[in-house]
Symmetry: none
Subunit: 307 residues, 5 copies
């Protein structure tokens, strides 16, 4: 491993070598391998939003094998999906790309204000499928968060004991937060902190807006003049909030935006010291050639070959 990867792994020196090995597998894989940056393809939208909303824009995506191919051809660091999608495609791609088993999922057939995801798979599935990590979503701000934190704690303990890394999707939602508050910079930073304190190895959050949601936090942001004016500032603050940058934090772009905007967001993540992107709908909802071109530009931004 090169010096940058060695440096990143040193942050995880209380983990056993198995966890560090699986982190290294992701960090060293694909086009960004060895740079310390990551682009991960996640495809859990079929469960989360329903199949048509997810795959009608590019029907090739109904096929579970499509996403393996896309992630491999694009040179992603890893591919993340729920149990069924991995089971239905993995046999053709064993060892070709690090896999993350998304272990809980939520659907919108019953969309509560205080959501909780169902546990849909676990550590033994991840091992038998050859995954490098388990993925888990928590919704800080939900009235059900205590249950989710405790579920995560259990799966984390089990996963790490067998050498699997833990990737946490930390998405604030719930009746006590405004819709805008879900991506408020203080809330996103808080969500990153919570995931890190719960033992996450890799933390996925949404890109933060300039809004500060919590009144108590507003006073602090003003008093200490925490820079949050630019997206890069906010990314830097979120990364700082995840143990002064000693945990890998990656960002999701959310709903589809013009490509130029997305590229600018990637530049802000890079400039703010973020570790990369997790890009779902923006990649698999367009035809593969376009998706590959799009992902190539994003990776170029992270590796510095695209300004």
């Amino acid at each position: 491993m090169n010096d940058r990867i060695r440096e990143i792994l040193s942050w995880y020196d209380s983990e056993n070598p198995g966890v560090r090995t699986n982190l290294a597998r992701m960090l060293n894989h694909g086009r960004l391998g060895g740079t310390g940056k990551m682009v991960i393809l996640p495809v859990d939208q079929g469960f989360e939003h329903g199949p048509a909303r997810s795959f009608a824009p590019n029907p090739a995506g109904y096929d579970p094998r499509y996403h393996f191919q896309l992630a491999i051809e694009a040179g992603c660091n890893a591919y993340a999906a729920p149990l069924g999608f991995l089971e239905a495609g993995v046999a053709d791609y064993c060892g070709d790309i690090p896999l993350i088993l998304k272990c809980n999922n939520h659907d919108v057939l019953n969309d509560e204000r205080d959501p909780i995801s169902a546990i849909t798979s676990g550590v033994s599935d991840a091992l038998r499928l050859g995954c490098v990590a388990v993925g888990f979503t928590i919704y800080p701000g939900s009235a059900e968060r205590t249950t989710m934190y405790e579920e995560l704690r259990e799966i984390t303990e089990e996963a790490k004991s067998v050498g699997l890394a833990v990737v946490v999707w930390s998405y604030p939602r719930g009746s006590s937060l405004s819709k805008e508050g879900e991506t408020a910079v203080d809330v996103v930073a808080y969500a990153a902190q919570i995931a890190a304190q719960l033992g996450a190895d890799i933390i996925k959050v949404k890109l933060p807006s300039e809004k500060v949601e919590l009144p108590e936090a507003q006073k602090v942001y003003q008093k200490y003049e925490i820079p949050i004016a630019t997206l890069a500032d906010r990314v830097r603050h979120v990364v700082q909030s995840a143990f002064a940058g000693r945990r890998i934090v990656i960002f999701s772009g959310g709903v589809s935006a013009p490509d130029d905007q997305f590229y600018n967001e990637a530049r802000a993540i890079r400039d703010g010291g973020g570790f990369g992107s997790i890009i779902g709908r923006n990649s698999f909802q367009r035809k593969k050639p376009e998706a590959l071109k799009f992902l190539s530009t994003v990776m170029g931004i992270y590796e510095g070959s695209v300004q």
Copy 2:
């Protein structure tokens, strides 16, 4: 061990030698080692209040290693933190300071009137991280308290069976208490008693006010003229309420106050027979040189070198 430590340990003579060894490790460590007094650094505010509110005043605190360094340099008896903060820093400081793993945590993204903390780590984590104790928060007065007491009972049984000490944060809160009632002297004394009855080895409560909250208690305090006029009086009453002083009770100061007030509080704790302080925000939210000076004064008060 010296006579004072031997006396304190004699109160715990129904615990196994492992628990007593870990109590001794805390009592004998740092500048106050051997005095029977303790100053503990707790840093769970990142989870409890969010990262910016916790660390913006002194951004060095975003880094989990900072708090280990602070606690070690200040000569604290122990450092307490949630799973993530310990995992991300412990490897550089193995054996340098007794560690307390805070096993449940609460965030304020959804702040209920009857709070309950999520279990975020456990005894097996404490062992693999080399901790001397587990820490656990209960909220007497919360409608959820029964669940918390039972969770504490389970973790206590497991922890003590493997020689770990148990530190309980007993913080009255909930819909049946007024805001002021949370620190009323009768309520704080009651919270100390509950923690002791639940098997706590070390009990952390807030400094009590002169207020008496519960009507039934008011009659008693008046009839028996229980002295609660001065803070030292009230500390003495709380310590008495924890088995006539035969359990270690330490006090937290809460939100930032002028240093002189804090020192006076420490003097009251000392004069009232309290065993010390657990000082979070007042220490890690200022620059390290100032924090070290501040903690040195507090420890000086406890050891008698500062009046």
Copy 3:
């Protein structure tokens, strides 16, 4: 053992010899040893009512060792307390008096109309502390009673399997009962029956009043002219309701009353065939010499030396 003890133990001949041994230890201990009568000292009020309300009248009681000493010097048959009080005192008195570990407790910082106690210790604690029995409170009449009955069932199964006796505090309370109904004779008799049916070896109830609470019961009490005019009548009815006297039923006096009234109650318990008293506040809330004198008189009534 003498014939009376042999007779009492014969009622428990489906229990294993371990349970019977521990019942015999209580029945044969102290001044009333061998008489078939019992006076037990219970001290759980620190948890149930708070420390000042419990111990301010006689501050020696803040110290967990005090109650061991009191029970031993008075010649009680057993001492019952929560985990913390036993842990903090037992080492000095190993084997000096039979111990009952009170395994659930309730505080009044949040005092619901339909109470449930938290499980605060268990069978493994009772074994490691050298207890002869576990104690458990149920609140018949509470909306939460089903949970408590099931908890009791589990702890009873576990306790008896390892030879521990089971003492049940059966205290009707809850939103469906009037305050006076809690001690109505039909309700107390019903509570004794429930405890007996749940497998209690020793049943503790409050002294019953002349009131009959339940309308359906009133018809029966009238139709069959069940004698409930005197306290001795009512005690006899309650004892009869606990398997025709084939389970040990003891009575608590409740709040402090003039001593003469208490002695008369003891005479009624004796004359009605009750097995004795469980006396908390009336004993530990006065100075020890007075408490010893008071308990001596009560025991004298039971053994017949005091009329």
Copy 4:
């Protein structure tokens, strides 16, 4: 993965994807990655023969990190070692080379005629160290073989259930075999068959001699004129004996021989359809530059760049 790797993995299509992923990790790693050929570095001689016999020829090999470096620089497909050697080196090389944990070992301080290896580590160790496979030695021909087969069966079941591949060292030894018989072609072929029948994913045997040991076998080899005249013939026969080549069979060279002879053996393995070599003493007992040159030649023979 390329077509050859896909073909090889197709032989293992009853294994779960985790096992196939870990096989792919070995097959795709290093200089021979993707060719279907393998060169593995095993270093268990410290345990098997003692440290001086193993490492005195090249004292750098006393250091556990040396062998990781050698395997990585040489471009081996995997590195195999006992627990201690992996534990003491892995942290510096997480993810840099596929690891095989040798789970049983034998020493020669007491060298029985019917040997059995001690189980020195297991599946949980392999997972926490980030290994791709467990390795296990059986001694067909030993009076203790039944125990070893059953131990292997248990570890195989456990390993595969968590996605680890199983590598079996199948070395005939024991009181019923002549010294020469240990490498007799019928015996080696038999040993390969036994390992395959026991569920081995990768089988390691010694290069077979022209000798046929067992009388019953001699008749058959003669009757059916099985070609065993050349080493390539014999390799082909052994590979055929491991399920018609549908299991990966690799060969060890044994004690040091002139390099030219070793290269000729590698050519025979290649020509006979063997899958490669496992080379211990011949590589780590010479200085690293020489070892790298030696291994490069061997790999060149397998990939076809060296004739």
Copy 5:
């Protein structure tokens, strides 16, 4: 921790922080704390040789508390003993010295040629007694060694998972070794290697003689001219054989010798890069003042204050 301790702990970076913490506790304790050198007091001779042979020379040693006092007063890094000796003394010395629970023992009432020790305690005992490590004896060379290696493997896995370090007494014995061969330099080096491969954190061997026992080894020692002429040479070779010095190796002196000889041995251990001594009979079989003086000289040699 200082740089030397940090360096030593870095060799154990695949262990969890708990194990590293307990290693640090030993390395940082006592007079040699922080030097990287260790002197450990072991007292298992009461079991191994019988009480009179062990304690008659200094009858104070019949009392289990004596050895705690001796180890503490002498400033040893740790005290090692079987279950009973620790249980009977630990309560008075909780936290005063790191403890090693010797988990297997052998007596000489039946002294087989191929010995095996009985497992006499385990990890749960070590935890409840507050120990930092478990100790375990293996007899390489015994026909029973396979069983002992497998027992050690199980206790090692369990101990490390709960953060306890593992100390292995590796003492070659058995029918296949000559009496002199038990301390032959090749055999001792081999025993150190085996313990290290089995996962020992600290390895205890006997001081090696100039003899080379095994014929195969003799060739190697001659061919490579391994320096074994002086005791320091041989210590250096044994330390090298334990992973090039990356495992802590300490030496026992065996039966009583003149003090000057013992001091010379300590000088040789120091000069050869050994990590210290484990001194039983030579310390506890003389009066305490003499023992303290003796141990002070030995420690002086290790710290350099005595030449």
